[in-house]
């Protein structure tokens, strides 16, 4: 069994890296994930220690990206900030997948029924609340914080995955191999789990990458306006908010966290594009 599974996936990986956009995106993503993981063990400086004597230094050999208004090392803060951003975005995507995909599959398996109607109307309802508004509501109730940012972005992700899963599953339900499974006596839930889900995995992975990058952007925006991770936890968005107040004094402080967000999101988007081209046989043939 494992041989059958590994052989084509190895083939897919090899052709994936032949795509330039996937390779660049993958490299950028790995870079930031690695920075986040390493920050648990080691950062050049301790991000919680302030040193006013060293404040607002420009980039140098001792401080690669310079220091902020408290004399904290910006390079170290970006490493730690990466883990906040990535954690928020990954968990938010997880919430969307774990709740959204089963809802979408259930809706598709009872297409046209009451359950389908209820799930889709619920989706429409969430879609009416942009992630920022959900975050504002949650913050008004529970106060700001990284967990509330996760919940807000996660809720926003649910209808995205539910719609995607439902749409893709609906076209599969008309196929012969599903009919064969029904004839052999499998129930709709089992068919959804065993036959539909594996066949929409490609789509889910691509969408997951895109939602991951949107999550990073949303988290940056939320923490910029003070609705995300709270001090002293470094976050890219709040680093930018603090840098803004002294942008005329020390513009370099505003530069590095912005580039960190830009490159992470760019990497994930390029990776998503590469994966989509790879999974879509129509495009693959068109290119080849």
């Amino acid at each position: 069994m494992s041989e059958i599974l590994t052989e084509p996936s190895e083939h897919i990986l090899r052709s994936a890296f032949r795509s330039k956009s996937f390779a660049i995106g993958f490299a950028l993503t790995i870079l930031f994930v690695a920075a986040a993981l390493i920050s648990f063990l080691w950062t050049p400086y301790d991000v919680t220690v302030m040193s006013i004597a060293d404040k607002l230094q420009t980039p140098s050999a001792t401080h690669f990206f310079g220091t902020d208004h408290f004399g904290r090392d910006i390079f170290s803060m970006i490493m730690v900030g990466a883990r906040t951003s990535i954690a928020v975005a990954i968990i938010a995507v997880g919430i969307g997948v774990v709740l959204g995909v089963p809802l979408g599959l259930a809706a598709a398996s009872r297409h046209g029924g009451l359950l389908d109607e209820v799930i889709m109307r619920g989706n429409d309802l969430i879609f009416a609340f942009p992630a920022l508004l959900i975050a504002i509501l949650i913050t008004a109730v529970f106060g700001p914080g990284a967990v509330n940012a996760i919940i807000a972005i996660g809720i926003f992700n649910i209808p995205v995955f539910a719609r995607l899963a439902r749409g893709a599953a609906l076209t599969l339900w008309t196929r012969d191999f599903i009919l064969a499974a029904r004839v052999s006596g499998k129930g709709v839930t089992r068919i959804s789990a065993e036959h539909i889900l594996p066949n929409i995995m490609n789509l889910l992975i691509v969408q997951g990458t895109i939602q991951f990058s949107l999550g990073i952007l949303a988290d940056a925006g939320l923490s910029y306006v003070g609705l995300g991770a709270q001090p002293p936890t470094p976050s890219w968005g709040r680093m930018l908010a603090e840098a803004q107040t002294m942008i005329s004094l020390a513009p370099h402080i505003a530069l590095f966290p912005g580039f960190a967000i830009l490159l992470t999101v760019l990497g994930l988007n390029l990776m998503g594009d590469g994966l989509r081209d790879l999974f879509d046989p129509k495009i693959r043939r068109g290119r080849g």
């Binding site: 109307r121 009416a128 509501l137 008004a140 940056a220 003070g226 968005g237 942008i247 988007n269």
Partner: protein
């Protein structure tokens, strides 16, 4: 068409009712007594109780929900806890900043995206296409509030062409007011323009491979004529849909950009409302934005159904 319209309208009304319940219940959970908050720390209990009664806070939740909704239908959003003026006045004032900003950004985004998408599609896989697609990749990935900060640094602080923030008000003159909205609008428009340009390009590439385009070429039209007379027109349908949906994103996105430029818009109002526990203002602004999103989605769907009769039949 009428059946489709009524069906969609019913689901819009249902969505609005559900959304209002969600917003109301969410803010019911918030701890703290607005009456005590309004009276300050030293107020005596009987005075607070009198204010509670006057504000209708002692009624049951269902009664308060009904009167909130009934009030909103009449344009009465209640009295702000901190400003002590009707919330509708606050919102009307701020709307004159947020709405023009979103519209300005929408116009900019469309003006940038149309030519960019058409040029990219017409020069598929040539340097112009790669260049435009590369820029749009960056445009989608850049956090717009950071882009806004960079604009402030270059055009306001370094070059001094614009002021770094604030809004002089429409009474200062149309062009002076628009000038102070230009940088925020550019920052808001960039990501949307990038998305729109990509949609325009792929939609145009689809239509360019249609049979009727080949027929047009075969009957002797030049590439340019075919592009403008046949391909672009048909490619516009999905693009226009996206433009409609982007407007609601722009309204919500304006909340963050307003913070960068210290613009007195709805976004600032909401954040002040949160920090000052002025929940009735938060509730009303959130509800208003949700209403805008639902209404715009409805109008776009409707416009789409008018243009594309297949949709109407499907939904029946």
């Amino acid at each position: 068409m009428l059946v489709y319209f009524l069906k969609r309208l019913t689901s819009v009304v249902l969505s609005l009712i559900m959304a209002s319940i969600v917003v109301f219940v969410a803010l019911e959970i918030v701890p703290g007594d607005p009456a005590a908050y309004m009276m300050g720390l030293n107020a005596d209990l009987s005075a607070i109780e009198a204010l509670r009664e006057q504000m209708g806070l002692n009624a049951s939740a269902i009664v308060r929900y009904m009167s909130w909704v009934a009030g909103m239908l009449h344009g009465d959003f209640g009295i702000s806890y901190t400003y002590k003026v009707p919330v509708s006045e606050l919102i009307a004032d701020r709307l004159w900043v947020s709405l023009p900003l979103a519209l300005f950004a929408l116009v900019l985004s469309t003006l940038i995206a149309f030519p960019a998408g058409i040029i990219a599609a017409a020069n598929r896989n040539k340097p112009a296409d790669f260049g435009i697609m590369g820029v749009t990749q960056l445009g989608i990935a850049i956090p717009n509030f950071w882009f806004a900060m960079l604009l402030v640094f270059f055009f306001a602080i370094t070059l001094r062409w614009f002021s770094a923030g604030g809004f002089p008000g429409w009474s200062a003159g149309f062009f002076i007011a628009m000038k102070s909205l230009l940088l925020p609008a550019v920052a808001l428009a960039l990501p949307q323009a990038s998305i729109l340009a990509r949609v325009m390009r792929s939609s145009l590439l689809d239509t360019l491979s249609e049979d009727y385009v080949r027929t047009a070429r075969a009957k002797g039209l030049t590439r340019q004529q075919t592009l403008w007379r046949h391909a672009v027109r048909n490619a516009l349908i999905p693009v226009v849909t996206i433009i409609g949906l982007q407007f609601s994103f722009l309204l919500a996105g304006a909340i963050i950009i307003e913070n960068v430029f210290y613009l007195p818009g709805l976004g600032r109002l909401v954040f002040q409302g949160i920090t000052q526990r002025d929940l009735i203002t938060v509730k009303s602004v959130v509800m208003l934005l949700v209403f805008a999103v639902i209404a715009i989605t409805f109008l776009v769907d409707l416009a789409y159904a008018v243009v594309d009769p297949r949709l109407r039949r499907q939904s029946r």
